[in-house]
Amino acid sequence: MTDNPSPSEPLSYAGALLETMRGALASNPHSIIMGQGVDDFKGTFGTTLGLADEFGAERVMDMPLAEEGMTGIALGATLNGLYPITTHIRADFAFLATNQIINLIAKYKYMFGGLFEVPMLIRAVVGRSWGQGAQHSQSPQSQFAHVPGLTVIMPADSQSILDMYPYIVENYRGPVISIEHRLLYDLEFNVERGDPNRLENPLTSRLIREGSDVTIVATSIMVLEARRAAEHLAKTASIECEIIDLNSPSHPDADLILSSVRKTGRLVVADTSWRPYGVAAEICRMVCENDPSALQAPAVSLGMAPAPCPTAKSLEDAYYPNLTDLTDGIARLVVGREQHGVPLADETSMRDVYKSFKGPF
């Protein structure tokens, strides 16, 4: 259990999740956590560890294998006064609950003219690396954000979790799907505590770094990659990247993104999923419908290769966009030619950042 550490203390992503899960149970007696293995000795990769002991098995409920059923049960529970938090240790399993999420949860308020509200939180973890393969690696943000009624968030660091989860559980009246990234879990980030209301709207995009040469809109772990690329490019080529953490694919801050693109004239989108009909597409729509002339050069987007995810490490390394790809893409865009002469960031450094990740559980 993490007790209130002092300001700007490092806190892992998993630690922030555990802290906010604990907070949800402590602050709201009506909240419950439901998911496969939430009460076991691994505790959802550590993010629900010990909570069943502390709050009881009735509030931290292990669930049978029944994603559609569980999600419908959560909806019924919130309609009758509980605040349910459901978990999917792989976002891919949420596809078994698509009917409840898209046909029911997203619509329950509107369909009945506002007679009901469905506050609830669905946590879905994206897998990556160590041969997760085709069925344990998907990142469904665009498929859910396409649907009105759903709020989709993708916390990119520990601070985002601290900023959003308590706000959602305590103040937000709609259903939220949070897409967490497994590779972030073990990473530590500096967090600032203090004013819990420091953000006017925690569920939208954030400016992460200012810069004049290029706008990078990134999601989840790609925000971290963007930071690393920005540092590298600033140091080696005096290229200044502006980074926006999209944070909420369903509710991006269009003003923030557009004014940044107007300023830099260049756009890079780096997302965790496939590019077609994904985050890059939506950001491009925003630009095209508002101010296509803001783009002084073609936009660049990075995402998973257009294939299911292979398991072999050599293929997987090529499947996901890495720091080399990102720095190369940015440099080409900013310098304006293929042979940009900017030294590329060393791909092997990824290993330091992601530590050594093994196995799905």
């Binding site: 049960i73 009758n80 329950y108 009945f112």
Partner: protein
């Protein structure tokens, strides 16, 4: 005699539901109701019998075939017709139509047009009721076809596992759209609940609301765990829409006539005569209310999304 009073009160309710739906049939060709309607004519007894013992604080979840339960649970008639007419005064301001009725003030928690999808909602509501110490019965109503969907099993398992106070009510009208049970189910619905240790009651005479009420009340008297009630019933009209469909060949009107022979609303002509005028008056008033109600405002289109 109280039994007699019960009969009359429930008869009145059932007749009211039937006359409401018959009015819908009358109105339908005028295109004033632009919503797919799944009529309950023939099935009113089930709804009236089930709801008779329920309080407003008891919660019921239904399906697209929801008119009868909406009314039996106590939903307002005016906002019902207004909803079907797509008016701002409809129970959902015109967003629900016939398939998504709800009336949370009387515990009618909504209807889904995706078969079987509201079954887990009742289970979840029962979980909340238990956890929050609410003295509530929670009821899921669904058709025979809904038992074919996997989520039905997932819901029964969870309810049984946690011994939740939920009542599963299966209205078995013998058909899913135009397909008979035997073409779809290798199992007997009656055998499923026992697998999960859920007490099962079969109510043979679904038209007989007094019997339904009695047997239902007995079956759910012990409120500690899940219960399963199968009510044998009969849909008189086509699956969706207002016409008869005995010409279509998937069923015969022999079964329809058999059913009518058991239907108090057909047999007890005296009571029909007694009640009909007042009910028709009430219906006309509701229709008039609907008809004279304003359309939703343009800004309603984007209200209540999140």
């Amino acid at each position: 005699m109280s039994g007699d009073e019960d009969y009359k009160r429930m008869f009145h309710q059932a007749l009211r539901i039937r006359l409401v739906e018959e009015r819908i049939i009358d109105l339908y060709p005028s295109d004033r109701i632009q919503s797919p309607v799944h009529l309950s004519i023939g099935q009113e007894g089930a709804a009236v019998g089930v709801c008779n013992g329920l309080r407003d604080t008891d919660l019921l979840f239904g399906s697209y075939r929801g008119h009868a339960y909406y009314l039996a649970k106590g939903g307002d008639l005016k906002s019902f017709f207004a909803e079907l007419f797509g008016r701002a005064t409809g129970m959902a301001g015109g967003k629900a139509g016939s398939m998504h009725l709800a009336a949370p003030d009387v515990g009618f928690q909504g209807c889904s047009a995706v078969v079987a999808s509201s079954i887990p909602h009742a289970v979840g509501a029962a979980l909340a009721a238990r956890r929050l110490g609410k003295d509530q019965r929670i009821v899921a109503v669904f058709g025979d076809g809904a038992t074919e969907e996997g989520v039905f099993h997932e819901s029964l398992n969870f309810a049984a596992l946690h011994d939740l106070p939920v009542v599963f009510v299966c209205e078995n009208n013998g058909y899913a759209v135009h397909a008979a049970l035997s073409a779809r189910q290798a199992y007997s619905i009656s055998k499923l609940p026992a697998v999960y240790g859920i007490p099962y009651t079969r109510i043979e005479e679904g038209a007989d609301f007094v019997a339904v009420d009695k047997e239902f009340t007995t079956a759910v008297a012990d409120t500690t765990g899940p219960k399963f009630i199968e009510i044998m019933t009969y849909r008189s009209k086509e699956h969706v829409g207002v016409a008869d469909d005995f010409h279509a060949g998937y069923r015969t009107d022999v079964e329809f006539r058999d059913w009518q022979a058991k239907d108090p609303l057909v047999q007890d002509t005296a009571l029909v005569e007694e009640y009909q005028p007042a009910i028709e008056g009430e219906i006309s008033e509701a229709v008039n209310f609907a008809e004279t109600s304003p359309l939703p405002a343009p800004e309603d289109l984007l209200a209540d999304v999140i």
